[in-house]
Symmetry: C2
Subunit: 297 residues, 2 copies
């Protein structure tokens, strides 16, 4: 196996660097907490430090928030629908002070039915690393969960759900966190929350209050309340996303093993079958984009 | 006009004391920030200080969080449906150290269709001060908005929506607040938010993200974003509540003039006519309860 390129999956709070072959098989990888927030003003130094012992003649391609206005070089959003050709054709190239050429992958934008824009950056590359023909629905859960619809390898539309960030704000900055204790997952309470919210997703502002009353009335233990709240938020997200995307079939989850299991559990509770996508989807996607762009061959 | 009783509307963060006649007409009133949070351990002193110059022989009746477990004396929740008779029959009496007898009004509890409890405390008294015969729908907006259905003077069911508290958590503790500036209301942005959320209340976790993207893309000015966010939250609340209560007719709003106007505007945008309830609903309700309980005559 021969190293063909260096791939960077560089987000807000972390950086993953890969030395990979032409198909995206990883020869070596590094992970660091040098996200763009902590690297502002010294992106080149951070990059150089992480790839110093990898061949300086290899092409470099980067995806994620590093290509945003707050990042190293801005790669403007590419409108949906977009697939490998559109994204590879919209790479933005930057020559570093030490003379290396880096390709930045653009994020994607789309407008919903009333013209409100939505954006992703990084997730398009992961999906392109996993996707095949046919109609597919992806979820990439996290601080901001991203749901993406693909048709024959094209990302046709997507939507952001602020589930992770809103869960944290509710837990840490509202009355709902007051009765909570412990940080162990309670699968049963999570399931009850998912089912309740999935049955009435428009009632989220109300169902959330149940986290308090069930605690006050002693129906849920303090150690179960955070899991119940998480279930309410994720159950609402799934119900809304399935309506929005008309999901009746398999959902592919791209996430860490822990988050993949949590969403797979939740989807199953909502009678939606789920499968885990490729764990190395990001570097696979970077390889595909790099090949279509002619950076590697 | 003769003073017949002293009414206390004593909540978490404020205390209103009224000297009133038998019908609840106010002869004198006092408002202070001595809510139960800041009065713990010295409720009697706080009470005495505010009513010192009012006749010590008058009956006293109190509603609000002062009757909760965190308050002065706990008046256990009375289950719905409940009207004047049930509430007057569930008053809890307390003799102060100085020998005064105070009646505490119970809060109400109800269980929704899946058995999750909900509670109110104080709002039942306001509604009983305004309500008449027939079928009525009330909203008492605030940190926790309470919607109540009445039938011929009985409160049959209600639901809490955490709108105010969640708006504050989103504005102050998520990415949505980052682009905001100023604190002037923007009626146009509020209206756009209400309409958008009302059309898709199950999508709140997604529509919220529009507060960020519309700001990023320059479609909404930084000074408009907080009003847009407020519109999204209130529009979602109204859409959910109208479905939950089958609201097609007049909604009565019991709130401060500012909040009453905001909710009346929002309800009108959702094609729901609204009217303002009595401004002195709390003391009117205390008078009605006191009369039925035989405290005043």
């Amino acid at each position: 196996v021969t190293a063909a390129f260096i791939g960077l999956d560089w987000g807000t709070t972390s950086l993953r660097a890969y030395l990979a072959d032409v198909d995206g098989h990883v020869l070596e990888s590094r992970q660091a907490s040098d996200g763009i927030l902590s690297s502002v003003g010294r992106f080149e130094e951070t990059f150089a430090a992480h790839v110093a012992d990898w061949s300086a003649s290899l092409p470099v391609i980067a995806s994620g928030m590093i290509g945003s206005r707050q990042g190293w070089v801005e790669a403007p959003y590419c409108p949906c629908p977009a697939g490998l050709d559109e994204i590879a054709g919209s790479l933005v190239f930057h020559l570093t002070q030490s003379g290396r050429r880096i390709a930045f992958v653009p994020g994607l934008s789309c407008n919903d039915e009333v013209g409100v824009p939505d954006v992703i950056r990084g997730e398009e590359t992961q999906v392109l690393g996993d996707v095949d023909q046919g109609s597919r629905l992806y979820v990439l859960p996290g601080t901001h969960s991203k749901w993406l619809r693909t048709e024959d390898g094209q990302i046709t539309r997507f939507a952001t759900f602020m589930s992770g960030e809103i869960f944290a704000a509710l837990k840490n900055h509202t009355i709902l966190g007051r009765l909570m204790s412990g940080d162990t997952d309670d699968d049963a309470a999570f399931a009850v929350g998912v089912r309740r919210a999935h049955a009435a997703p428009e009632m989220l502002l109300h169902t959330l209050f149940g986290t308090r009353t069930l605690g006050l009335f002693g129906s849920l233990a303090p150690t179960a309340l955070a899991s119940y709240l998480s279930g309410l938020v994720i159950g609402t997200e799934i119900a809304a996303a399935r309506r929005h995307f008309g999901a009746t079939r398999m959902v592919t989850i791209l996430a860490s093993p822990v988050l993949t299991k949590r969403y797979a559990d939740a989807l199953l509770l909502c009678d939606l079958p789920a499968r885990a996508g490729l764990e190395d989807a990001a570097i696979r996607g970077l390889a595909r984009i790099a090949r279509v762009a002619g950076l590697v061959r």
